[in-house]
Symmetry: C4
């Protein structure tokens, strides 16, 4: 009699579960190269701003580009539904908390206007920066050409869970290999968390992949749908697929850890886990330049009878420049994210992100120990 089959469960880890171990040599942080490349589009810093309405407006995107990163504009949101989105943002911020969900649901019933797509893209390009835009799969074929025509440099196609194949009676799924024929710009797709899907998407020719589904224990999709993979494990798995695909084909397709990153430490851990770049939402929603005016709102799933649009007060911490480059007045790691990454690479002895990906990582139980403070080293040096 064969032994009965029990389902096996694999442990998975998030940012709070791990820490980076220092390396065998140290490097001067100023010598580190932290640029990344998406099929020829170069980013001086590996930071992307999420395609969330409360985070990215055309003017925010221009600022982000000038600072070396890139912000992705949501082409299915307020910017393409309203001539004057500023007015809508103001009303969202002024709605009392108990009316916020209802109001959010209402403002998103306005239809997307195709003529606004080109206008928003041009506004970003006027800032002299790389223009990245995001679409849901269902709108991509129709709207992406308009965006490219207007000058968009990077097309993001995003849904909560992306796979190489979608089964549906009503509609034929988006085939990325076909899309690549029609759109002559790099296409970034996501989100996924698994080795297999990452490999399949790369085989379809995509230019980069976003990693992250239900990353935090507090995520709505974890609570409501039970689905989610902590980001360190998701990134480790997908990085293995990227390396395997590179080994087979010689084409290097970067992966971008998207979601759940809050501090400089989280950014560093994502890279060490294997990411080539990171995408952040709330940390940038906290910048003075973000259109959300101290709020952020999200939706875990586009299913009609599940709730959409919880508005959360995130506050405003400082300018985008301060959040990226400091100087930092806080010790919680939410400012000077670029400086933190460079200093961390210095301690690990990594000259660039590829070397940083090779650093050692440990599982360190996240027991918060009150009353301990870190000890002084070279104060005043």
């Amino acid at each position: 009699m064969p032994y009965p089959h029990f389902k096996e469960l694999r442990p998975a880890y998030g940012f709070d579960d791990v820490a980076i171990a220092p390396g065998r040599i140290t490097v001067n942080p100023e010598m580190t190269d932290i640029s990344m490349d998406i099929e020829g589009v170069r980013l001086e810093i590996p930071f992307l701003a999420s395609a969330m309405d409360a985070v990215v407006s055309p003017s925010f995107a221009a600022k982000m580009g000038q600072l070396g990163g890139v912000a992705v504009l949501n082409l299915d949101g307020l910017q393409t539904r309203y001539e004057d989105p500023e007015q809508v943002y103001m009303e969202i911020a002024e709605t009392p908390q108990d009316k916020a969900t209802e109001f959010l649901q209402k403002v998103y019933t306005a239809p997307v206007k195709e003529e606004l797509v080109g206008r928003r893209v041009k506004q970003i390009k006027d800032g002299g920066v790389t223009c990245a835009v995001s679409l849901v799969p269902a709108n991509t074929k129709r709207v992406a050409p308009i965006a490219v025509e207007a000058g968009a440099d990077l097309i993001f196609v995003q849904s909560t869970v992306t796979t190489a194949r979608h089964v549906s009676k009503s509609a034929r799924g988006l085939i990325f290999s076909e899309l690549r024929q029609n759109i002559k710009k790099p296409i970034v797709v996501g989100n996924t968390v698994s080795f297999d899907v990452t490999l399949e998407l790369m085989e379809q020719g995509v230019s980069a992949i976003l990693i992250g589904v239900g990353p935090g224990a507090a995520c709505t999709s974890r609570e409501v749908l039970g689905i989610g993979v902590p980001q360190v494990t998701a990134t480790v798995d997908c990085a293995a697929a990227r390396d395997e695909y590179y080994r087979r084909t010689g084409r290097y397709v970067p992966i971008i850890t998207d979601g759940g990153l809050r501090t400089g430490g989280d950014v560093c851990k994502a890279i060490v886990a294997g990411a080539d770049g990171v995408m952040l939402g709330t940390p940038f929603a906290q910048s003075e330049e973000a259109p959300g005016r101290g709020y952020n709102w999200g939706m875990a799933t586009p299913h009609d009878s599940l709730p959409r649009g919880t508005r959360i007060k995130v506050g405003t911490k400082g300018t985008l420049k301060q959040i990226l480059y400091g100087p930092s007045h806080r010790t919680d790691g939410t400012e000077n994210l670029v400086g933190a990454l460079r200093v961390s690479m210095g301690m690990v002895g990594a000259m660039n992100l590829r070397e940083m990906q090779q650093a050692d990582m440990i599982i360190a139980p996240s027991i918060k120990t009150e009353g301990k403070i870190f000890q002084l080293r070279g104060l005043g040096s």
Copy 2:
């Protein structure tokens, strides 16, 4: 000298310890089939309401049946002890908290009246739905025939821990294989949590098995008796027994995870762990149709000198239809349980529950991370 024997401890997992990983394809949620079958009795949705007095009355059962599931009426409780149970429910709800246990103990001293058994069954059947009733083992032989005679379609025989054999001086235990001869209706028994007992119960011919003993860390039976197995591990183990029994005999005996489920995410995880259906108590006690009027009460063990009947305020969240089918106004996963299951199956790429059982599950430490919010995907799509 042989090596001394140390007792081995096996790790076990509950809903909060795990998460579901998305699959390789995605499926349109509307295409998913979530029906289940208990020996020919078909449920459109795999949801059962627990045989708790605060949850199921005849009218609740009718409503639940009309919505596609089934509610199990407790034939050892208030409904068969009182001509007019509504009056008793009202008094329970009006008793001050510090008198509640005492009052509950008193109302349950009234004897079960056999003439009420048939009347309650008929009330449910009048709703045009499947009628399921529950009995403790000691009353089953005597009362089950009355219920069947009155039209009951499913007989549940439940005790905290059920095994194929009970040792007692005073009474011969209930033998399920004998019961099956006498009662010509499907018999669902529980609860159990182990591979061995599941296999033995299936060999005795039962129609379905309830899984769950002391599932949560806060369970009374865990605190008082030390006994309990977290539901994910219990379901995984018993599902292995079901599959093994099916492999040997070709008879498929569904298992139902019972207890400790609170959110849509928990429901999805139970299915992925291997369940064919789920039984919920408190979430349904929170419906407007529940007889408990915003309260629930339970008892971990029928032993006379251990406490019985702690009344807990659970509140009222909405109609049963809203809890099952939405629309949801909450993001905590306690509404639209059916929608959550279908959307989750869509992300996993499962067309039916058997495919959902094959999905990957990971161990994800339940560290609640404050201040993180899930990122926007396709808002307004």
Copy 3:
């Protein structure tokens, strides 16, 4: 070049980390035999009360004996230092909290009076029960014969950590094998937590062994000295030594899990981990019969410059009979400890403690999940 040696760390588990799995059969709780035997001294129930001054007085010991267990009187404490200890207990209870440690330190400077040893033993024997007394190793040779002469039935020799050999310049350690020659009564020693020491102590002829050093994470000895082993692992290890010793010699030396037990669930888990009996302090300090008047106090180490005597308010829960036999009005498992053990054995299918030791135990992460309640089974049956 040989591989360098890294110290290995073994995982250890406490009561809150584990749970008992139900068995393949169930047994009527009334049929269970829970007696234990210490070299011919029979206890109807495997419960011992700790030799703590706030727990055991002669009258408490009489009551405990009448209820089937045994309480151990501390012969190095207030009972043998004061003619009228009642007066001292009253003063301790009346001292304000901020003066309590100082006052406790003062009352324990009074010398032990040998004439009180015999008097206390006789007071217990007058209750018609087994008399158990406790001594520190340094006083054992001198005082134990007096106690035995007065009628003591069981001699406990206790220190925080007991081994078969103590190295000291100033004094020759107590040799248990010699003690056994001189004292013709069963000798119970402790505490220990390891396989090796348990085996060595058994080889020296002791009658039973107390298990437990720094059992809880909050223990003073864990905080101050870093020393401590969670009780489930300690009991599993020492039970393996007991079984090994029995296999070699045919002599069965019971082990008693001492410390850290709070609920009926903890008691059940100690037995399943391998214990033959359990020793409790605080739960009995909460009885009306305890001399501590709702307080308990302890000392982790007898070293002069470490703190001694922190007084803790434990409250009074009910009579000793209620704590042991119920009826229980609480659902936290702190009442009806005997009933809980019998019901748990029934669910596990164990007829006696030896069978209970064979039950399965799982590691179940102790994540407290609020808002879950245990489901009703057979209420009113």
Copy 4:
């Protein structure tokens, strides 16, 4: 096709994750030898005070030396920037909390005055004790000879992460093997946490090594940079390197666990993990002799755009003598650290620190269990 490569994560443990298991024999604490030796410089007790400005002044160092340990004076801090540092300490203590960081940043802009280096060293030597001083790598070559000339006995070279090689365009890194030629005093370097780096530093001839980078989960470097290794694992790994180096060369280079130690239990665990000595900051900042007046401040990294100098109120607990030798009035393990170490060694059966390093250590989940108290053993003995 070769199996794809997934990054592996190794579990790591901190003080709160582990406990010491008692040994097979016990030893009278007074017989224990707890001295340590750094290349001929003997410490009666293995306690070092961190080179933090709020902890060590010349008078504190004298006191610490008289009590048997050694305190390390920071030569890059207030003591060498100000003629009258007392005045600065007073102003720091009087600055309101919201101005503290800014004020700290300001006082550290004053330049280091070389003439003060010799003066501070002489002040310590005037106390008749071993003089230890600390420098950042960049200042070591220049300032260390001045300190040695003035009489310093031990030179500490410290940065957050120290390796045998530092890559920089602007400056050639400090080569410890060269430094050893020039400075005829023992050189202690740190901090590191890995086997490899420990071995390489020992091969460069250093006299002792400080272990610890981002030890606690709450450390700034963990939060900001993602870098950190819990101290038990760091110590275990570096101790393996020390033993390996000793095996190869016969030279024994002690390692000192530095940072994250708070209680006597932490000190004991560090030794059992393999340390030869321990370095503490905050516990000594809480002494009456510390110059910080109940405050401590630190800086995780010397990078210019990351925050420096968070001032934390640590309070004053008692004299340095009380903290080291008791008597203790607290049960939280923060007083009588020396007594705790000796008593713990007694229970483990270790006559000296090398034997203590061999003790067993277990992983004991740090679940804080309220309401449990440790049981009385031999109170009044």
